[in-house]
């Protein structure tokens, strides 16, 4: 790593030495959501812990409203300041950004029904779903993971932009918004969402409880522009099995975070203060990160910070169908059925709440007016 300079806000810009010394850095990106790309690609992607801590912290993430909306994201503002420093240091970047359509499960094939709206399912789709449901009930977990993990989405490119970072990113964002932005009238009391089996950090791995939290509160909750889909003090109901299970090779520090830190506190600020340095600088985690296939020691803490804004905004978080002990450890409430979850939610939002459901796939971004 090399230090390229400091932003006016006092943020040190650490950068990969090999990239900084290259004549030209070509960065290729797929922008699945509007959060990706731009200066964040390099300022975050090619930095180390010392650089990341300036924006990957509870304070910045609480003030990113939302992380999917660059103009209103403190995380992106910090990355853009760092991007300027990288540019001024003479690093030449040729940015290639692409966008893909939302064709996650194909228009035909065994999983195609998962991206249709339920009321449009044919009798065949429903029969296939029942068979899939019954099949998944009897299959071993490992087989289920390999079936779904092995699915290759037949995405098709919708645009390619190449050239200077900011000009490229501007065009990319326009294309992502053109596809994903959906106008929604008003906020709701209860937001329900079904979480998928995969997130950015469990490819060929296990979606552990911390990743479930990060996917729901960090990614899906933040899929908005303007105002969150759910009102302040409202309830978020997520559906996910949330197993008490971790991949020991990929997520070693997650196990310790879950067992040692979350039993003490679930407050991101408190976690940052008491545990971040310890996890980031742990020799064993660094060794596994560099020589094995492990995520960095500080990664689970960052995942937790990712949900800071949602945790501060919401009155209650309920997980339907999750492992009760694992859900409680996260500091959330568990419910066996959606009906039970709605009953629990009425304690917070009253007996006649409004409900909005975020259906994925396809990925959508709510423009709440």
């Amino acid at each position: 790593m090399v230090v390229l300079g400091e932003t006016p806000h006092g943020e040190e810009v650490h950068f990969c030495k090999r990239a900084a010394e290259s004549d030209l850095l070509v960065y290729v990106n797929i922008n699945l959501v509007s959060m990706d790309g731009g200066h964040k690609s390099t300022a975050t992607g090619l930095a180390g812990y010392t650089g990341l801590r300036h924006h990957h912290n509870p304070h910045t993430l609480k003030n990113s409203k939302s992380i999917m909306d660059r103009e209103n994201s403190a995380l992106h503002a910090s990355n853009w300041r760092m991007g300027d420093v990288i540019k001024d240091a003479g690093v030449k970047i040729f940015q290639i950004e692409t966008t893909v359509n939302n064709n996650t499960f194909g228009r035909e094939g065994p999983l195609a029904l998962l991206q249709k709206r339920e009321w449009e399912w044919s009798a065949r789709d429903r029969a296939q779903f029942i068979a899939m449901q019954r099949g998944l009930e009897i299959l071993p977990v490992k087989t289920k993971r390999s079936i779904f993990g092995g699915w290759q989405s037949p995405y098709e490119l919708t645009s390619i932009q190449a050239g200077e970072v900011e000009a490229v990113h501007q065009k990319t964002i326009e294309n992502v918004y053109a596809q994903q932005l959906v106008q929604v009238e008003g906020q709701t009391d209860i937001l329900t969402m079904g979480l998928p089996y995969i997130c950015p950090y469990n490819v060929n791995s296990i979606m552990n409880p911390i990743l479930v939290m990060c996917l729901g509160l960090g990614y899906f909750f933040n899929l908005y522009k303007g105002k969150p889909l759910v009102r302040e003090g409202g309830v978020l109901i997520m559906s996910h099995p949330t197993p008490w299970e971790f991949h020991p090779v990929h997520h070693p520090s997650y196990i310790d975070f879950f067992e040692q830190v979350l039993t003490e506190t679930t407050d991101p600020v408190e976690i940052e203060k008491r545990y971040e340095k310890q996890f980031a600088e742990d020799e064993w985690y660094i060794h596994l990160y560099r020589n094995s296939y492990a995520y960095h020691g500080v990664h689970p803490l960052y995942m937790w910070y990712w949900g800071s804004h949602a945790m501060e905004h919401l009155g209650r978080i309920i997980i339907v169908g999750g492992d009760k002990k694992a859900v409680n450890r996260l500091g959330f409430q568990s419910a066996s059925t959606l009906q039970d979850a709605l009953e629990i939610a009425t304690d917070v939002v009253g007996p006649q709440p409004t409900i909005t459901h975020l259906k994925t796939p396809p990925l959508v971004m709510a423009d709440v007016i």
């Binding site: 339920e118 009321w119 449009e120 399912w121 009798a123 429903r126 779903f129 029942i130 449901q133």
Partner: protein, 309 residues
């Protein structure tokens, strides 16, 4: 005692209570539902019925169910099979149509290799009006929908594609079963497809099936039947569908004559174009009915009015 309908009603209610996904999910209020693609009638996709599994089931149905049933009901005599000796590749089998018994009789009469590489042109508005009848028609007899209520290229394109893939077609150029026992004028569909696809038409005459299960009857009764195959016919150079269709109709008329008289007499009459008409005289319905019974050689016996002393 509970009636069948009340039992069915109770069962339906219990099923509906199971909710989604067992029953259809209702469209949410305020959401514009997409127009469902019509999958019945001429739009019914019969591809699945030509896959190996379905073909195997059909072959089993034809050989183990249809053949013995038709042997019992129709005691068929099959004539003219030697005329197909030089026929190669896919062909269009064009027959007159008197009864629902025609199709099983012809499926069990058309020889190999065409029998199990055969699709049947069936009225889209009759055989493909519900999912159950569509599936049953496609599976059991290999039916493909033909739109007879409107002019559409869809059925023609689909059947041309199938013939191009090597499938043969059994079609009834009259467009439906005879309403009164007499034949109906031939439509040009079979001739048009033969010209378009460059395949021969095999004329067939079926007799006797009108007595087994004529239009309007639900229960079959036994009767003898005859299936007569003619020589494969090819469209002549620059011949259009109308004139080729007229030739096919003339040939089927001659085959009918052959069945009721003899090959020699039928050929003589065909040569001078005096084969008896299939469509019957243009007179009142009751006289047509009389004429039909005369044609069949079955006039009502005079009832003895006085006892023999």
């Amino acid at each position: 005692m509970k009636t069948i309908s009340s039992l069915a009603y109770g069962f339906r209610n219990k099923f509906l209570k199971l909710g989604f996904p067992w029953v259809e999910a209702p469209s949410p209020i305020g959401v514009e539902s997409i127009t469902k693609k019509n999958s019945l009638g001429a739009d019914y996709d019969t591809d699945w019925a030509r896959r190996p599994g379905a073909r195997f089931v059909r072959a089993v149905v034809v050989e183990t169910l249809m053949r013995p049933v038709m042997s019992f009901l129709a005691s068929p005599t099959r004539e003219g099979l030697d005329r197909l000796g030089n026929l190669e590749g896919p062909a269009i089998f064009a027959a007159n149509h008197q009864s629902h018994a025609d199709t099983p009789l012809l499926i069990t009469s058309i020889p190999e290799p065409w029998r199990h590489e055969l699709v049947i042109g069936a009225a889209a508005d009759y055989f493909f009006n519900t999912k159950a009848t569509s599936a049953l028609s496609a599976l059991a007899i290999g039916a493909v929908p033909i739109d007879r209520t409107k002019v559409s290229r869809q059925s023609g394109d689909m059947i041309s594609g199938l013939i191009g893939e090597g499938w043969s077609l059994l079609i009834y150029p009259e467009g439906g079963r005879s309403p009164d026992g007499w034949g109906q004028p031939f439509r040009g569909g079979a001739a048009y497809l033969a010209i378009r696809c460059g395949v021969p038409v095999v004329p067939i005459h079926v007799s006797g099936t009108g007595k087994i299960l004529r239009k309007g009857k639900n229960l079959p009764r036994r009767s003898k039947s005859t299936v007569t195959f003619g020589y494969p016919m090819n469209p002549e150079k620059d011949e259009n569908a109308r004139s080729f269709s007229a030739r096919i109709e003339k040939e089927v008329r001659s085959l009918a004559d052959e069945t009721s008289s003899s090959w020699w007499n039928a050929r003589k009459r065909a040569y001078v174009d005096t084969s008896p008409s299939l469509t019957g005289p243009e007179i009142g319905a009751w006289r047509r009915s009389w004429a039909l019974s005369e044609k069949d050689g079955k006039t009502q016996k005079r009832r003895r009015r006085w006892p023999v002393i």
